[in-house]
């Protein structure tokens, strides 16, 4: 999985992050790819992801004095991205957006499973779309970004125990959504 915890391809570190506006700008640009992908996976929309990342970059710029350790930039910036995505998801609840996402070709190879697999995929994606912003973020950070419980806790600024609890409940709600409303009773 192409997660957030994989080594960055290139990170600009010319001098202090907070001491040089140019180097900070460079640092933001160097992390755009991963920020964009994270936002797209959370939001399920590339257009929304672009806007979210652009907003997050601006927020990061404005609050750059809050970054004390340049080595923590990635975690710090991804936290801003996640927060921006959360805000967008919450506002989207009031105005639903539907976008058809591309599916990876030829993933189902076993004969006879193809229809079922496609059905499960669709149901899972639909159930995921019905989750709350916090549930989505939790699942994305854990199963797409492959972050450990501690890393998620650090990025979200919550205790590890809370992460475990939220993750458990997010999975449970996803299962419920997958089975359909009758299971929910």
């Amino acid at each position: 999985m192409d997660g957030l915890n994989e080594a960055p391809a290139r990170v600009w570190r010319l001098g202090s992050v907070t001491g040089s506006e140019a180097s900070f700008e460079r640092l933001v640009v160097d992390h755009l790819d991963r920020a964009y992908r994270l936002a797209a996976v959370i939001l399920g929309s590339t257009a929304d992801a672009e806007e979210a990342v652009s907003d997050a970059a601006l927020l990061a710029w404005r609050s750059r004095s809050g970054l004390r350790d340049p080595d923590r930039f990635e975690a710090w910036f991804s936290r801003i991205v996640v927060n921006t995505c959360r805000d967008r998801l919450r506002s989207r609840r009031r105005r639903p957006v539907v976008e058809v996402l591309p599916t990876a070709p030829n993933e189902a190879t076993e004969p006879g499973d193809f229809r079922e697999l496609i059905h499960t995929r669709d149901e899972l994606a639909r159930a995921f779309e019905l989750l709350s912003a916090d549930d989505r973020i939790m699942l994305v950070l854990r199963f797409w970004a492959d972050l450990s419980i501690e890393s998620i806790a650090e990025r979200l600024g919550i205790p590890s125990g809370t992460v475990k609890s939220r993750l458990h409940h997010a999975l449970a709600r996803l299962r419920v959504g997958l089975r359909g409303p009758e299971v929910d009773q």
């Binding site: 999985m1 700008e25 640009v29 755009l32 591309p102 199963f143």
Partner: protein, 308 residues
């Protein structure tokens, strides 16, 4: 592989399909452009803030300098100097050390308020912590100093106390010291005064008070003040004419208050009495003038005939 693992695998697969891959090239350009705009905007605003901060800081420093160092000039106004005794025979004369009572120091309060606002702006907008902490420290210092000045508690009557000419307490009176005077005779009070505040102060005089009211010469009133040199306690006749008196924290001085008993005063007819129970002393701390009503140990009474 159990159900949970399968389910998590499906989730990973589903999320992986949502991953669009690399960001489009125009995103980087758009972000850079947006950051450049923001940098230009905040740069201009930052320069404006810098000017405002500098002006506020300068104003604060100037105000503090005025408040702390800008002491009045002129005879007897130099800080830290005791008046030089002019000799043991110098008479205490009427009008010596009389000073109008003063109201609240509005100008200084306004300046101090402006300084606090300026420093608060500096503290809130400072990008360097040391500047912010420095401004906060100065703010706390101003508030601390402000809390200590301007209260009557700064001066207290301690030590010597006496009147001249002295009259034995007449029958029927349970407390107080009495002045032997007929008509508008002079009398003197000896009063020890101590600076109880944590800041030095200058005594600048005594407020005449009753002299301002109509027919004031019917009543006992203060008409002058002097002081006794350090080595000359308790003899009002050796009082020196008043000049500004510097008192460090905890330091004491003996004042000699010159009074007139009022034309109704009598040393023999015990019909009524007028009392002086406090001294309206005017003092200055950090250029701020205050009037303190310093309560005497016992009221000073002047008898009168009640028909005058």
């Amino acid at each position: 592989m159990n159900d949970d693992a399968v389910f998590e695998g499906e989730i990973r697969s589903m999320l992986g399909r949502r991953d669009p891959g690399s960001s489009p090239a125009h995103l980087g350009e758009a972000v850079v452009e947006r950051l450049e705009r923001e940098r230009a905007r905040t740069g201009a605003a930052g320069r404006g803030r810098l000017v405002v901060n500098a002006a506020a800081g300068l104003a604060a420093v100037v105000v503090l300098a005025v408040v702390v160092l800008g002491r009045p000039s002129g005879p007897g106004a130099r800080p830290g100097l005791r008046p030089t005794p002019s000799g043991p025979s110098s008479p205490l004369f009427e009008g010596s050390g009389l000073r109008s009572s003063v109201g609240p120091p509005l100008l200084q309060l306004a300046l101090a308020g402006a300084a606090l606002v300026g420093l608060a702006v500096v503290a809130a907008r400072a990008k360097r912590r040391v500047v912010g902490y420095g401004a906060i420290t100065v703010i706390l210092g101003i508030v601390w100093i402000g809390s200590m000045i301007g209260t009557s508690d700064a001066l207290e009557h301690t030590g010597g106390f006496g009147v001249e000419p002295f009259l034995e307490r007449p029958a029927g009176f349970e407390s107080g010291v009495f002045v032997r005077a007929d008509g508008d005779d002079e009398f003197r009070l000896l009063v020890g005064i101590t600076n109880l505040s944590r800041l030095p102060l200058d005594l600048v005089g005594v407020a005449p008070g009753a002299a301002q009211i109509p027919d004031a010469d019917r009543l006992p009133r203060i008409v002058g003040v002097g002081y006794l040199p350090d080595d000359d306690c308790c003899l009002p006749s050796r009082a020196q004419p008043f000049a500004r008196l510097h008192l460090d924290p905890g330091e004491s001085i003996h004042l000699v208050i010159l009074g007139r008993a009022g034309r109704c005063a009598t040393a023999t007819v015990e019909v009524g009495a007028s009392q002086i129970d406090s001294l309206p002393l005017v003092y200055e701390q950090l250029t701020l003038l205050h009037t303190a009503a310093v309560r005497l140990d016992e009221p000073v009474s002047v008898l009168n005939d009640g028909v005058c």
